[in-house]
Each structure stands twice: as structure tokens, then as C-alpha cells.
Amino acid sequence: MRLAAVAGQIAVACLLLAIVAWGRSVSHFPSLVGASETLHWSPNQQLLDRAWAGAVPGIAADVAVLNIFNIYARARSQHGSNAPWRDQLYFELRSAQAMDPYFRDVYRLTEGLLAYEAQRWKEAVDILASSGPWLNSADPLLAASFIAHQYMHDDKLAIRLAYQAIKKPNASQLTIGFATALIRKRSGCKMALLFLETRLRTLPEQYRQGILLRMQRLRQSKACIEEERRQVPPLPE
């Protein structure tokens, strides 16, 4: 009698476990990735972000950066220029920057993903340029200056950003050289490639594709080929 009761309990437990397993296997709700199309950054988004982050705003920025990794991983599996991930990427970068403006990863991802991958030049320059008051590094400002010059063709903005970059304590020869070249209006293909190579070295391997593609396109461009030809000295007769 007791054995039958135990067997009955085991049978019920097995049945319940089977129901749990079945429930898990069928309860796949569609991802909300598509909803990100409606995400638009607004400064008072900070109010909500800050309310939940409370005493630990740094962790909210970290979560936003983790979201960026997820967005990028999903984006690589989707194709098409109008993919909603670009909006979501911008939203998360803005969120992260608002919560922790000192966070260097935000600026590296802005350059690597928002600019070179998503080609949101203006938005990327906005984020990179706003690093000025927070970071003691010339890197984001130099990147912003480069993007403004190379892709937005706004030399006035590029020179202003380059000036800000060279004022930073860690401003390198490249920063100074780039700024000089901009001012003299001599920045060409070689310098652009050199700059991209420098940026490439600072990014982990899995995030290099965007820059590599840019470099390839730049090398194959007519202007670049002509510039290279001009630099090759003529053979002695």
C-alpha cells in the first residue's frame, strides 16, 4: 500500500516535470528587437535611467555596454542597411555616456561601432566630442576630428575638435600631426590610412571588421591610388 503511494507520488512528480519541460519548450515569445526602431534618445531619458540606477550609476553604464555587445552580435546575424540595431546602438551609447561619462569603453564602442559600422557619423562625433570635459585623453576627440574631416567633410568642426585634442595631456604626435595636416589642408589618403591603422591596434580583434573594411575601401579609392602614384619617384633613365 505504502509502495503504491510512493510510486503514485513519483508518477505525479514525473508528470509535473514533463509539463514543466513541455512548457519551457513551447513558451518562446518573439524577441523585442524590432521594437527598438521606436527607441529615440532624449536627454530626459537620463531621469529614468538615474532613477533605477540610484547610488550605482556606473553599473547602469556597464549594463548598457553589455547591451551594445548583444545588439552588435544580433546585428551581425541580420543584414540590410535599415536594420533597427543602429537606433538601439545609439540609444545604449547615449544611455551609457549619460550614466558614466568617464567610461572609456563607451567612446571606443562609439567610434568602432556607431561610426565605422553603423555609419552614424554625426551622432558618433556628438558623443566623442562630448568626452572633452570628462576624459583626460585625446583619443575620443582625435577620433571625432578624423570622422568630421574624413566622412562628414566638415573641416571647421574637425579643426575645432583637433585643437581640443592637442590640449589633452596625452596628445600624441599623431594627434598633433593630424591637427597640423588639417589646418594646412593637406590631409590625404596616406594619413587617413595611418590613422585607421592606429585605431585598429586599440580595438579587440572581433570588433575590427568595420575599420578593416574602411581601410580596404580607402586603398581602392581613385584618389588614394593617384596619391600613391604621385609619391613613387620616376625611374632613372
Binding site: P43, Q46, R50, G54, A55, P57, F69, Y102, D105
Partner: protein, 270 residues
Amino acid sequence: MSRTLPLVTLTFREIASQRVYRILLGVLLLVPWLMLIPASLFMFDIGKVLIDLLFTALHASLLIFLFFMAAPLIARDIEQGSCHIFLTLPMRRGRYLSARFVGLIVALMPLFAAYALSASLTLTFAESHWAAFYVAPHSVPLFDYGAALILMPYLALTAVLFLIAAAATGLPETMVFLFSVWLLCWSLPPVLGALLQAEVAAKTPTWIGTLLQTVNQLLPDLSSSRISLYLAHGKKLGIEAVAGYCLQHLAYALLAMMLAVILFKRRDLT
């Protein structure tokens, strides 16, 4: 004093003898090491992320202590009349509350020390492995300094717990009010900080700012958001600001305890 000290010791023993206390102690020793896993997902500021995670876990553990150990102890003491045992000794009601308060803080210290020790070892390990990704070298003293400062608002919040418990009818009421106060103290100061930025203020109706400011005036500024952000990036905190921060919370804790004693003295415990 001769009667206060045994009650402080008893409070410590009451808390420390609970199984959950020992479990929490074990968890606090383990958690910093587990934080290395999410921190390793980041690219450059790994040190900063690790300190963020450690500060967050510290907040969580202090809240667990406050809500699940301290609040039930004091609320049930009053609700179930256990406090009569001490009050009939005789012991003044004010002294009873003060001894309970000190006892709770004493009980918190081993948890805090264990966490700080484990977190310091974790940071030392991380710093030796990911040296290139550290913006701020010597993160251990920075973390310990930050952890001690983070503890301050929780002293004030513990005093607020006594203030609430002195007037509340029981544990549920105490928990609801304490949670409400904590929620407001957690979220309001950072929101008000954001409202100071011109671009945010421009897009927010003025009445919202005024309303939040009014509510904030009634509550202590229990936020340590800027402290955790600055220390995670190795930035120095002004001595005057730190002194003001510490004194503010200690003064608030004393004020709340004074009010709690006044309320508790007038309370009919029969």
C-alpha cells in the same frame, strides 16, 4: 551602561545565531570572486567595471541585512512585546532603542569586514592579471575607502528603520514604510542631479523639478552615486565634501534616533 552592553551583545548574538547570517557571510566571501566573470566581458575599463560590480553587491548585501535581519528583529520586538523583558529590568526606553541600534551595527561589522577583505583580495588578483585595463592603479584602498563611505547612508537608514518601527503597528507596516523611504532616497537624488543639466532641464516641465525638490527636502540625501562613480575611476574626492557627507549621515542618524526615542517613549506598549 551596565545594562546597555549586555543588550548590545544580545542583539549581536540574536542576529549572528541566525542561519541566514552565516549563509550571508559565506555568500559575501564568494561574491567578489564571482564578479570577475561579468567584469571579464569588458574591453578597457575592466577595473572600473569590477569596482562598480563590487559596490553594487555591497549595496545589495546591506539592503538584505537591513530588510531581512534588522527590520524583523526590531519590528517583532515591539509588535510581540519582547521588549518588555528589557524594559521591566528596568531600562529606559531610549537606552533600549540605542542598545538595539548599536547591536545591529555591531552585527553588521563582521559581514562588512568579510566582504571588504574578500573584495580586496579579488581586486589584487584582478589588478595583477588585467594590469593594462586598470585606469586607477591601487584599486584596493580606493574600494575600501568607497565601501566605508557607502556604509554611511545605511547607518542613517537603520536609524530611519528605528523611527518607523517606533511608530508602526507591526512588521508589514515597518517594511512598507522603510521600503518607500529607501526607494525615494535611492532614486530621487540622482534624478535631481540630472535635472541640474541644462539639456535635461530644458526638456522637463518645471513643476516636476519643483515637486521632486520638495520631496527631496523631506528626506535625507542617502545617495552615494557620485562617490562610487568617482572612486571607480580613481578620481580624488575633496576632503571637505567627504567630511560633509559623513557628518551629514551621522547627524541624520542621530536625529532619526532622537525622534524614534521620543515616539517610542509616548507609545502605549500594553
